[in-house]
Subunit: 335 residues, 2 copies
């Protein structure tokens, strides 16, 4: 009998999310009903948004106490009761932190056989597409403009800066810790990266952006957003991709200069989710793959091994200890 | 000898602006130099933005202590040393709170002879164009959508709601005081108007907007913006036109749900100034005049008589005691 381990939410966090909010349990091995498939999980995407899902309904249903934790996964079809999918095919699914899940076949997205499969969760997955669509279709930078991105060493940030460079822009990162900042500049080719923990964000940002900031790709919100807003150029664009500084807080505070700066500088602040640009995914994939081939984008991934380590993979991500796209490997890529 | 009264800024305000920050003085009668004109002031526009100019450089130079207060005026050319303009012509100018000012002829905008001249400061002036461009070109509502506007009884707000109705939208105002709200509904035809001082803004807004809010034309920022953001629909648009709640404050606070709501609801928040859409002014004027003719827009103006009353016209405006476009009449319309 095959094992189906599951990671369940014991209780929803009120403040900081910890590993104790989760529990590993043995679940029943699922079977496919009519129109369904059983999917064996291979890789699970770990994202700051997972934490937001616990705050209530967002662009998707909320995660509740007692749920097997929700995730976006890549897996292999293990059993099928639908003509659309055959065992052995690779699919992307809205799944759970579990060895096996059952989903409606029509909700599973068949993936091309692109190896390593991990690329489908990083450069060619939500992280890469979020960076691409957010920067190209929301921020719309012109060559020569200055692009700033926070969480620069994160799953999305590493691609935002590299895409900005590929588009002929100046790319400046903001990240936590000197090591991360050095890594972003030396390994990923950003023009500069500022350690927000250094205590001189305003001054260092000003020095790194002598012509002001045209596009800010905001992954964090809060005080960093406030500081960046003061240095935005007229008609600048703020791509609102996340507010991680607010997720772990019960008393969030907004940037004190909003909406003042938006009015005075005629800024555009715009939120998006990657699905909003599904009709442009094909173009995104082509451009991203071309940039990887040309050596303009380095694909960096942060893989945590083992389903049982999913809680610390997420809490660690929220604490900022990842470099590049974080994911959990539950099973090896099929041969 | 002709008198040239001037209202000077004695000192810049740190907190609330009062009449004592200004002083009426007798100035010298100016003379036009080469390429200049002397303009006799007829009407001065009084705007919340005047207060913002005192906070430092915005989209224009800052106002300083000792300056004759800056303003946007309509006047008559009294003397000209430039071929472009002749005495007796009507012009709009960046001027001062004074009977007479000297400006470069190339900076004076010749106006069509549209009477009453006050319309050039309200429906056909910055107020009307701000309402039009902000709603039509930034907010871009579709027929059937719900448009909410704050400072609904103000110079811009009265037109925003009426334009929304003309476009086939549901128009809901927010204003201070029951009398103002009743006036906005009964006299201007808004579908509803909520008194934010009533203490139930969230609940009353929800009742007045059963289908949520698609476009919010924000004239105030602060807590009202925060409350409205919670009720915005997915892909809603926030037109950022002012932040009057922040002008009179030394410790401004931003909406606590920013940028969270922008991310979760994929909102677009965009600031603008009316000059950004100068290329579409002609279309705006035509549409606005047509709506006035058809009775879809009522032009309401709030005229304070006398240059010496300009300080209280502005401080009163900031306290919210105007209904419609406030202006100061310095001299009668020429015959």
């Amino acid at each position: 009998m095959t094992q189906n381990r599951q990671v369940v939410i014991r209780e929803l966090p009120r403040g900081e999310l910890t590993n104790d909010h989760f529990e590993l349990r043995d679940g029943e091995m699922p079977a496919a009903g009519e129109g369904e498939v059983v999917v064996r999980t291979i890789l699970m995407s770990i994202d700051a948004a997972n934490r937001a899902w616990m705050q209530g309904a967002t662009y998707r249903e909320a995660v509740k106490a007692g749920d097997v934790m929700h995730t976006y996964s890549i897996g292999e079809v293990a059993e099928s009761k639908d003509d659309r999918l055959k065992p052995g095919e690779i699919v992307a699914v809205e799944a759970r932190w579990a060895d096996y899940v059952t989903v409606k076949a029509k909700h599973a997205q068949k993936l091309p056989d692109h190896r390593p499969l991990s690329h489908m969760l990083s450069i060619l997955g939500i992280a890469g597409k979020t960076a691409y669509h957010g920067l190209v279709n929301v921020g719309r930078p012109e060559p020569g403009e200055t692009v700033v991105v926070s969480a620069a060493a994160g799953s999305v940030g590493i691609f935002v800066g590299q895409i900005a460079k590929a588009l002929g822009c100046r790319a400046v990162g903001i990240a936590g810790g000197k090591d991360k900042c050095d890594w972003v500049v030396k390994e990923l080719g950003f023009d500069a990266c500022i350690d927000y923990r250094g205590g001189n964000l305003f001054r260092e940002l000003k020095a790194a952006c002598p012509n002001g900031i045209d596009v800010y790709f905001d992954n964090v919100g809060g005080e960093i957003l406030e500081t960046v807003l003061f240095q935005m150029n007229q008609k600048g664009r703020v791509v609102c991709c996340g507010a991680v500084s607010q997720y772990n807080s019960t008393a969030p505070s907004g940037p004190r200069n909003l909406p003042g700066m938006v009015v005075v500088k005629r800024l555009r602040m715009e939120g998006f989710i990657v699905m909003d640009f599904a009709d442009r995914d094909e173009k995104a994939t082509q451009e991203l793959m071309a940039w990887v081939k040309e050596g303009k984008i380095r694909v960096v991934e942060d893989v945590v091994e083992g389903l049982e380590n999913a809680p610390r993979a997420l809490t660690g991500l929220l604490a900022g200890d990842n470099r590049g796209k974080r994911m959990v490997r539950v099973a090896p890529d099929p041969v």
